[in-house]
Point group: C2
Chain length 247, copies 2
DNA sequence: CGGCGACTTGAGGGACGTCAAGGGGCGTGG
DNA sequence: CCACGCCCCTTGACGTCCCTCAAGTCGCCG
């Protein structure tokens, strides 16, 4: 592992970081010996805002986000970047190894991670089925998000992609505000563009249109409020699910 | 689960199907009682070519492909289809549940599957860490493929997408032929288009260009030969990995 | 061998990218 | 606390790649 120029020393101690990981993924009955082995293969990564962590391209990693938020980025030829996923505190990111693109994790806000080589991690997890099960669940959630994202990237218009994105973010980090939701997006327009396969200009234009239609309101660069999540969902290009009425 | 109009009775018996699943995913030391429980939650699905299987949209499924090849399809509004992944015999497909798009599995060739409700499957797997570990590995492979695909859908030109696709297919189903590889693609141009976020016309045009440049040769509708996989990879828009020379 | 459907090829249009310039939020320093 | 300035965001004009629509050909199965 190699940290970028913005890697920086921060406040949280390693034991504190490990405790957050442990609380989220290791069941209470995990033997101390096993916990210690996990500790021994965990590497702390502390990133300032926009700091990045590169990994050995041949070795797949599991990265647990202890504090802050980050993006998993893939690089293609010609300096093109694709944001594969956004991750918030408490989530697990899978950084592929041996792939045809170069992956890295970049901090959206000051961010602290624990990185594990996936091979050793799974070897340890095998001794505790509950851990393996939890990891399996989380990886499947990531796979489902990736599948839903494929539909957006492959078949949706710019407006639908932006609306889908906002629906997803509202569900993940939105806080209730009256009848609607509000959220502070930690990522830039450019990050959103790189996640949706668009350009920052197109994101700006779509945001402007959504503002005009009253679908969203914005304040400053990062605060977005959604008065009616239903209207946003209607613009997301989703399949009309028959049980929508029943719900 | 609900099978489409092309679902059809075929030759392989349920025990034979289950044996293929068992050989691939259940370790030799699995207790008979556990194996029987897996049998009891497995549902056989036999599909004629182009037959499709719809599942309860709320219940996530794991589908093991015993025989043939299939595609996992997501549907968005307006009849738009996105092929999320292709699957060949011996592979495991995750069919999302509770999603905002409608998923189904459709046969590319006559195809036999075993479908498991994911909750019950993982409950059983928890008793055998080796099974959980194998499933976890396979899901992570699927996630990596999805991540690589995000880059293609989000940031690559039509030619790069087609070349990436052919590189991937060559690795999965190509057979050595002289210095190159040959393969019989079981999916139509339209299927490829739906997987790459393009149209069948664009696929045709890209195939034509690759034929002109001597990068590929085709014979009939489905046979493709790749004289030099390196040239194809060079056109895939991949990151130039530094260790490429070392390999 | 005949017909259907998938594939191919062409012409034209549209959604989003590219390039460019101006405005404003937000952090910094005085 | 306020002023400054960087950089992100916004907005406009134009270009382009791929989609759409259409017609014709060919492979594959009966």
């Amino acid at each position: 592992m190699r940290s970028g120029p913005n890697a920086v020393a921060m406040s949280t101690t390693f034991p504190e970081l490990f405790d957050r990981f442990s609380a989220a993924l290791l069941p209470a009955e995990t033997p101390d010996a096993t916990i210690l082995r996990f500790r021994s293969i965990a590497r702390a990564i502390r990133l300032d805002s926009h700091g990045h962590a590169e990994f050995d391209p041949k070795a797949e990693q599991l990265a647990f986000v202890c504090v802050g938020s980050a993006k998993l980025v893939a690089r293609a030829s010609g300096g093109r970047e694709q944001v594969v996923s956004f991750h918030f505190a408490g989530e697990l990111a899978c950084v592929p190894g041996g792939a045809l693109h170069a992956y890295s994790i970049e901090a959206l806000t000051p961010c602290e991670l624990l990185a594990f080589p996936v091979g050793e991690f799974l070897d340890l997890a095998r001794s505790e089925p509950a851990i393996l099960s939890e990891v399996c669940d989380r990886v499947m959630v990531a796979l489902h998000r990736a599948s839903e994202k494929s539909v957006a990237l492959g078949r949706k218009t710019a407006q639908e992609r932006v609306c889908s994105f906002l629906v997803g973010m509202t569900e993940r980090i939105g806080v209730r505000q009256g009848n609607g939701f509000a959220m502070r997006l930690p990522m830039s327009r450019r990050d959103i563009a790189d996640a949706l396969g668009l350009t920052n200009e197109t994101i700006s234009r779509q945001f402007a249109e959504l503002r005009m239609s009253g679908i969203i309101e914005t304040s400053g660069r990062s605060l977005v409020t959604v008065p009616d999540i239903g209207s946003l969902r209607d613009l997301g290009g989703y399949m009309q699910l028959p049980e929508r009425n029943a719900a």
